[in-house]
Symmetry: C2
Subunit: 398 residues, 2 copies
């Protein structure tokens, strides 16, 4: 190895391995990160855009076992789950999921899990990076709530891409084609216990398989791979370009405890008039009552493709002043554009405005746009069904 | 890159970089992990044992900025800090530190930070891997305690090895030589705000510099490096062999919420008769009242040097039965032995016993021994001063 070689990742016993870990290495996972104390594969092909095109043109398996579940069960499960999030969970049906924010007393964002109502008195929060279980356990220590909290043996695997329904219908049956967006059901796949949900970390057609027995991970992966061969199945990973196109945020990249839901454009997940108490209501009410000082917008950045994204938040300048900062950027092969998320302060938060982004190797010009890109894409394609389902999970925005 | 190349680590904006990150790359950091949402360098030299010998023979800088601080301040700081740990903090003086465990209501271990009393009403818990701040914030949400909680801008840097005092005396003054074990003081180093402590993640002579302004990290590193040149300073990292020799555990590797302090041999950090309440007392009292079902011991393993340690916990067998599991192992160049930590159930937890460890490539024989190795080493060398200081922080064990 020479001095300029890329640093490698230590594989040791402190960081946990996914039940699909051996499979991801076998299929050539080359770049990893660590997420919720687990190894998360990030890239397979070294050819720029290859992983992306494999996802959007075919069917792709993503090891996202690092999305750990906080399980809340017991007589007060609903009341305690509600305490954690400003999204009203009272009408969430068994078998239904919802994108939620976990907020602290200041209205800051601690995590942005998908909440699943697994049973009347059993919820899962499927986490972004962060030990939200410790937050929940700290809150529950008062003994006020009759709940059990834990991290169950659940390892999500996402099946992404336009052929994902074909693959799963072949294996599980045609019922998967009729599964509505953000709905899931229990399924026993030859003894492999699953929850199968129509959801995932993109706005493409995708499904999430919540494996409920880590010992069956290798078998599940192999069965999917074999059935997927005729469809050209590939291994992939949560994709920067796909999430930028879709306006999907990454917790700790784009938002954290110093950010509130409204400036992120996630006010639609906050129900201030929710009947049951939740943490952060007073702070969020105060924030909502005042004009926003800054907000997250999209941007299209000039210049050569930004294949590898950014390593740090980058300053954004307008009219010679600091207008805000860039949190994420990358190149969308499908749109043939560099996309970015910018946190822009007033009065610079206007779609159409020209700004400059200070990259380590120089400034680039950019145009501010509304988020997301895929919504407009879907509208152009007349994908009413997707929009209809999307509306169920984003009641105030779509 | 060929298929057998080691996976690289993704460098992106989600995982934070230490103020010393650029310096570690400049000095050739080749292997990283992620710890408390930060990059942590793990190895510099590819020559087995080189980093280790550099540490034990000279002076070495370790970027451990990933040891984040939970800061507790306010009128109820002592009472709230005490709530978090079974170690009695009432007699901890300002300028004194203590190794502590954070326990949950079941007596399980959530973290093993060093607690520092920075002021009468200000404590830091210098964390192992885990979002203990969320646990503390959850507990404080009741509003019962008048405390502020947060993660301050503090970035620890360790100076390790027999020449560490010489290096720091040269830069800071001779007072560092008289600093007692687990004591620290504030020090303004040409405008760089520090806490300088006599502590670190080894049982060698070592110091920990708690940098209180991340913007000054590069400058601090450069000053240390320049002053260290005549002493042969090197860059290093928390070292597997050093921590094994010293019987220092790694949270999430050797212990976690499923482990209690007594079976780890850390009962000396539990003061059941502590006057103020702490979480887990009742459970710990019950555990202490019964014979232990298992406990952590050392082992010396036969066969070729285990330079790279283990990737998983490994089964331990005795008399054809499962006797427990190995959590960590590695080769100590100084002792010319393979060392390991074994969690052994009764009646297999006896020093002197022969066991077998099931490695992926076959079984190896091992002899069970008491922990740690360096204590005996120190006794042989007659290092009374170290033992005396150690006794202050390990009142019931040494």
């Amino acid at each position: 190895m020479n001095a300029s070689a890329k640093p490698t990742l230590a594989f040791g016993p402190r960081v946990r391995k996914s039940p699909y870990h051996a499979a991801t290495l076998r299929h050539g996972a080359k770049v990893f990160t660590v997420y919720n104390h687990m190894y998360l594969p990030m890239a397979y092909s070294e050819e720029p855009g290859r992983d992306y095109w494999n996802a959007v043109r075919g069917v792709q398996l993503w090891d996202v076992a690092c999305e750990r579940q906080v399980e809340i069960s017991g007589p007060d499960a609903l009341r305690f789950a509600q305490l954690l999030t400003p999204r009203d969970l009272s009408r969430l049906e068994v078998g239904q999921a919802a994108y939620t924010l976990i907020t602290n007393a200041d209205g800051g964002i601690l995590n942005d899990p998908v909440a699943l109502r697994v049973a009347e008195d059993r919820f899962w929060f499927s986490l972004a990076d962060g030990d939200t279980l410790l937050w929940a356990q700290g809150l529950a220590a008062s003994g006020e709530y009759r709940v059990s909290l834990g991290e169950p043996d659940v390892s999500p695997l996402q099946v992404q891409g336009p052929r994902s329904a074909d693959l799963l219908a072949e294996l599980f049956g045609d019922w998967v084609r009729t599964l509505r967006f953000y709905r899931f059901r229990e399924f026993d796949f030859n003894g492999i216990p699953l929850l199968v949900g129509r959801m995932g970390y993109s706005h493409e057609q995708c499904f999430e398989l919540f494996l409920r027995d880590g010992h069956r991970g290798e078998e599940l992966w192999r069965r999917l791979w074999e059935a997927g061969r005729p469809l050209g199945v590939t291994a992939g990973a949560p994709n920067l370009a796909l999430r930028l196109e879709a306006g999907i945020y990454s917790h700790l990249t784009d938002m954290d405890a110093a950010t509130n839901p409204f400036e992120m454009g996630l006010g639609w997940t906050v129900q201030l008039d929710c009947k049951a108490p939740f943490i952060g209501r007073e702070a969020l009410r105060n924030i909502a009552a005042k004009p926003l000082k800054r907000r997250m917008l999209g941007a299209e950045i000039d210049g050569p493709p930004l294949w590898t994204g950014n390593e740090h938040r980058l300053p954004v300048l307008a009219d010679g002043q600091t207008a805000g900062y860039l949190t994420s950027c990358g190149y969308s092969p499908r749109l043939a554009k560099n996309l970015a998320f910018l946190m822009l302060r007033r009065p610079f938060d206007e779609p159409g405005r020209r700004v400059e982004v200070q990259f380590p190797d120089g400034r680039r010009r950019a145009a501010v746009v509304n988020l997301p890109w895929t919504k407009r894409q879907r509208q152009r394609q007349g994908c009413d069904k997707v929009r209809q389902c999307q509306a169920q999970t984003q009641p105030q925005s779509d």
